[in-house]
Symmetry: C2
DNA sequence: TCATCTATTTATAAATG
DNA sequence: TCATTTATAAATAGATG
């Protein structure tokens, strides 16, 4: 697609790689936009430049699409809607083990609510890998809870739960280029 | 790019639209794969077909990329690496408010550890939106902490922290190199 | 550095099996 | 309905200012 055919290996020269990245990212986003337009579908692309900077494209926006994707229970592809009742049934089926895990997750959240701030003095930086992994496990439990709940709510609420920071709790719509994230308004074309 | 030039409007015929979607989705994923290969970058694409079915592509996987995107603090784009020290400095700059929030988050995790499972009897389904939002906020704080720690670790560990599920809460290695959400492997090529 | 140019390669719309 | 083919539009690698 250029003067010469190129090998499909990482471009070794940093400068060339950056140029290639910029050109192809532009092309990719354009293609994505065409796909969204021609087929009237939702699409989101997130890409980090070689320098580590995030670029994104989304129709109608990155977060609605990501939210829809993440919220999707793995077991049901009902497409449209699906009552929470079905979900609950599935969850109950998972058995007591999950129930206990959920109880712990809830206890965690509640305990945090009345939290005594000074109970834990060690900094997270001092924690070992094992502890972090365990923290993460509970975190995942929490998130499962949130996701399970989320299917009940309409899209805007779901967005609130999934978006990292909730200032934009509203429903900022409009297909967007560039940063899906709040500060970036339209497009960053340079890295 | 075909026998004829086509208008950039929604293809009205459902059948043609589906064909166009399949072809262009394939092309888009191929381009994304090339971009990832040539430039050694992380990228994720999520697209819902006209029928509402999800398709995804991700390098090294959808969730690691989405996680990185959602977790990104808006204020620092340090790019490469950055010792945890730099991160800590930035966090300290945020002031006492954040310090307190973090302390609460840590307390939460710790409380969960010694958790009394029966403290909370209400089901999550019964919780109100506000409580869920608050739970989510703490969750985000926790995750920020984990991410701050994560920069110290090598990629595989980072992947472990960010990937949504690890059945084996222990230290399941060999991060899933491709899958989107847990059950999905890499890409679904048919709708 | 950076945008623009163009020779080529690549993607794909329509045709075809 | 699909997969394959083919004529053409579109993307882009390298050149150039």
């Amino acid at each position: 697609m250029g003067r010469r055919k190129i090998e499909m290996k990482m471009v070794t020269d940093r400068s060339c790689r950056q140029v290639t990245f910029s050109k192809r990212r532009t092309g990719l986003f354009k293609k994505a936009n065409e796909l969204a337009t021609l087929c009237a579908v939702q699409i989101a692309i997130i890409v980090f430049s070689p320098g580590g900077k995030p670029f994104s494209f989304g129709n109608p926006g990155v977060e609605p699409v990501v939210g829809r994707f993440l919220n999707r229970g793995d077991e049901h592809h009902d497409g449209q809607l699906n009552g929470i009742q079905r979900r609950i049934q599935l969850e109950k089926k998972r058995g007591e083990a999950l129930e206990k895990a959920l109880a712990r997750a809830k206890a965690s959240a509640a305990a945090a609510g009345g939290g005594s701030d000074s109970l834990i003095s060690r900094s997270v930086e001092e924690m070992g890998m094992e502890e972090l992994v365990e923290m993460r496990r509970r975190l995942v439990d929490l998130r499962e809870q949130l996701d399970g709940r989320a299917v009940e709510m309409e899209a805007s609420s779901t967005l609130l739960l999934l978006s990292n920071k909730s200032e934009s709790a509203g429903d900022s719509r409009g297909g967007s280029w560039g940063g899906g994230r709040r500060r970036r308004s339209v497009a960053k074309w340079r890295d």
